[in-house]
């Protein structure tokens, strides 16, 4: 999947906004939202929040976790733990990117928050690389990845599954050789349509 598709899925998350206009309830296919009351907070999907923000029809209420203290704790926890910690939000990176991109004036300390989220992302990515390395070296065909968010998994996609596919192919070839005991059999390395649509 492309990152923009992951972002597209993340845009379905519900966020809180404060509209500056008053309107009745709106009945969308993905659910009903509203009524819109000027100055009162309400919940809408992220894509709608972004659209209203671009039309300057609302302010965005930063999610609870988009706070320096909370993020500082997450960062420390992430550094301390050998494993991935649970993120406050399944799509934290998408939400942070969109909200800080379009509505940084609605978030207190936006610049610091941006840096700290980037730090958390970097720590997690380096952990991910280390564990991918360990997984490959152990020759395993199975791994558990709890608490990784979709964007993080997606960033491992061009590499990890196809590396595991090749490893399996090599193991299968080796197995065949051992069972057949036929050293003269020079088989060409065939590439069977591995990992498409990633």
């Amino acid at each position: 999947m492309d990152p923009y598709e992951v972002e597209f899925i993340g845009e379905n998350r519900i966020v809180s906004i404060i509209p500056n206009f008053t309107y009745d309830k709106i009945y969308l296919i993905c659910g009903e939202f509203g009524p819109f009351r000027a100055g009162l907070p309400m919940n809408v999907p992220l894509w709608l929040a972004m659209m209203l923000k671009q039309k300057q029809k609302c302010r965005i209420v930063p999610p609870d976790w988009m706070d320096l203290d909370v993020l500082e704790n997450i960062k420390e926890e992430e550094k301390r733990s050998r494993f991935f910690t649970k993120m406050p939000n399944e799509h934290y990176m998408v939400e942070a990117k969109l909200i800080l991109g379009a509505a940084s004036e609605d978030v207190p300390n936006a610049a610091e928050i941006k840096t700290i989220i980037k730090d958390i992302w970097d720590i997690r990515m380096s952990k991910l690389r280390t564990s991918m390395d360990a997984l490959m070296k152990s020759g395993g065909g199975y791994g558990r990845l709890d608490h990784l968010t979709m964007m993080e998994i997606n960033s491992a996609k061009p590499l990890l599954p196809s590396a595991m596919d090749y490893l399996l192919q090599i193991q299968m070839k080796a197995q065949k050789k051992v069972t057949q005991q036929s050293l003269l059999n020079t088989s060409t390395f065939s590439q069977s349509g591995s990992s498409q649509n990633t």
Binding site: I29, Y142, P161, D165, Q175, Q196
Partner: protein
Amino acid sequence: MDLIDTNIALSDEDDEEEITAEVVLKTLQSAWQNERLAPEILPHRNDMVECMLGQIQHMERNINKLPKIDLRASIHKMELSRIKFIICNYLKTRINKIEKYCIPILNEERQRMETGSNYLTPTEFKYAQEFVMNMENHVKTVVLSKMPGNMQLFEMNKMAEHPNLHSHVFLKANETVTGIVLEDLAGEDEEIDLEEGSQHILQYKPIADLIKNGKVQLI
């Protein structure tokens, strides 16, 4: 004015069940995600696609009645574009797979049709048949007819490209599933459990059925 029937009657041969548009959308989105990430073609969800297309048409008619500058109109249009994107991308992904693996898909589909558990919609099946036919004709006119007589045979099965069912995929368990057997080449099979909400990377083959019955979701 309501732009939407929140309840859609989904007529399914014998039993008529009522589901909300919201549920249809959720089902479509997870079908799209699975189809994008699975190596082989999955059973079609044409019921959901048709149902959503009807809903979109209905809403577009109503939106046209609203004044152009109405905020509601632009919100609804935006949502419809998002849904159309999912549907288009879903159908395109299926067509790509059908073209790539047309020969094995057609062979397997013919067997499945006997048991009534077909994966392709009738239109997709027709498309696949025509695609193979055109390919055969093309190869025959361009190459084979110029070959010596004993080399003119079109060997369908040698042309076939198969999806790699051993490829590795990421998944999230929607519910707890126990006793997934991971084959090990050394003969030491490993058994694992997928707890609800947990995420894993493993081979597609042992979990293919779990995707088809919705117990796991590819991510």
